[in-house]
């Protein structure tokens, strides 16, 4: 079997940003994802929200559902934080650091929709929040069990480990379940899909974009560790 390290998927290593034990690293793959998220975050920072027009029942009038100024400000702030967290998660070189980025994205996603007036959307946000809270068990346990099995949390060291033990496979799958719950992908998509039914479009899109990027990066990390 081919032994993968961090450059197999990412391409040649451009450089590292050492912050103590946590080493951020940059390859073409990660640089591209990082730049995409940063560009999108900048677009969000300068854009204004959409206004939804609903047709009124039993009359010919329209009903405009718009976002107030205070609500607009807090949403923009949380969206920018979400974008920066996603960008940071793209280039981090530490397993536990990535998990914390995912947790940060989860809480910020809840915050973006928490200010809405629709009860259905609030309910979806609450259910998503419950999922995110439960997901902290698989995420952090996976980090701790990976540490216990290998004695390190750095992706550079994890990539070099020759023998894959069943415990490492177990914690990698646990990590995947945690990411699935926290970002709301495939079988657990319903809460996140419902959260979109509210005005304020460009800010809501970062919820979606962050989970796409985090999923890609999580799969890359699992491949780095397990092969």
């Amino acid at each position: 079997m081919i032994k993968m390290d961090i450059t197999t998927l990412g391409g040649s290593l451009f450089g590292t940003i050492p912050l103590g034990d946590i080493v951020l690293y940059v390859t073409p793959f990660h640089l591209f994802m990082f730049a995409t998220v940063i560009v999108f975050t900048c677009l969000i920072a300068i854009s204004r929200t959409e206004t939804q027009i609903e047709a009124k029942f039993k009359s010919l009038g329209n009903n405009a559902v718009s976002v107030g100024l205070a609500e607009f400000k807090i949403r923009r702030f949380l969206s920018i934080v979400c974008g920066l967290a996603t960008a940071g998660a793209m280039i981090t070189g530490d397993f536990f650091n990535f998990i914390l980025f995912v947790a940060l994205i989860g809480i910020v996603n809840i915050g973006i929709v928490s200010a809405v007036k629709q009860v259905d959307v609030l309910d979806a946000a609450f259910q998503y929040g419950l999922g995110a809270m439960i997901s902290s068990l698989p995420l952090f346990s996976a980090g701790a069990m990976m540490l216990a099995a290998t004695g390190t949390l750095s992706l550079f060291e994890l990539a070099n480990i020759a023998t894959i033990t069943p415990m490492m496979i177990f914690s990698a799958v646990l990590f995947l379940i945690g990411v699935a719950g926290e970002t709301g992908i495939a079988p657990f998509f319903a809460t996140k899909a419902e959260m979109f039914r509210t005005p304020g479009s460009p800010f809501l899109l970062i919820i979606h974009l962050s989970s796409l990027f985090i999923t890609i990066r999580a799969i890359e990390i699992i491949l780095i560790i397990l092969t």
Partner: protein, 169 residues
Amino acid sequence: MKIGEILNKLACPRRIPKIFSVVLGLFLLIGLITPIALNNDQVYPRPAPQEQMLAGDSIAPYDRGGEILKSPGITKAQYPNNSKSLGMVNSYMSPIADGVRNASPYFGTSIYSSPGGLIDEILYYTRGFDTILESTILMMSFIIASWIGINFTMRRKDDVDEVKLEEND
């Protein structure tokens, strides 16, 4: 059951936390039959429980060697080269903490919480970026909770009369 029915069940937000917890719970049962063992070559190892207490050390469970402001304590970091003054935070103790250490042998845990000590070195220095994220998470959740609280839950704007009444008495 048809696939369509299953998909319909999955589309209800109220069921998602329950489905997720069932999946996760069943997977944890697999963990009970997986061979689990601790690798004994870890970063930042610590002595066995009670070892330092029984030896009568005055900063008992958290003594990692070194002299205050002079020599670094023992820190087995992942990348020692990235942290230039590694171990200095570890051996540091504030003057008050040093006084407490000389006065009584029972305050090891309090002394390690004060500035200096191995945990501070991990939290602020070698893995400081984790702590930045962690405090950011705390800050974001406070922003969310207090924003909802001030703007909606507390209903301050409807409460003007009540607030004024309480200020007067």
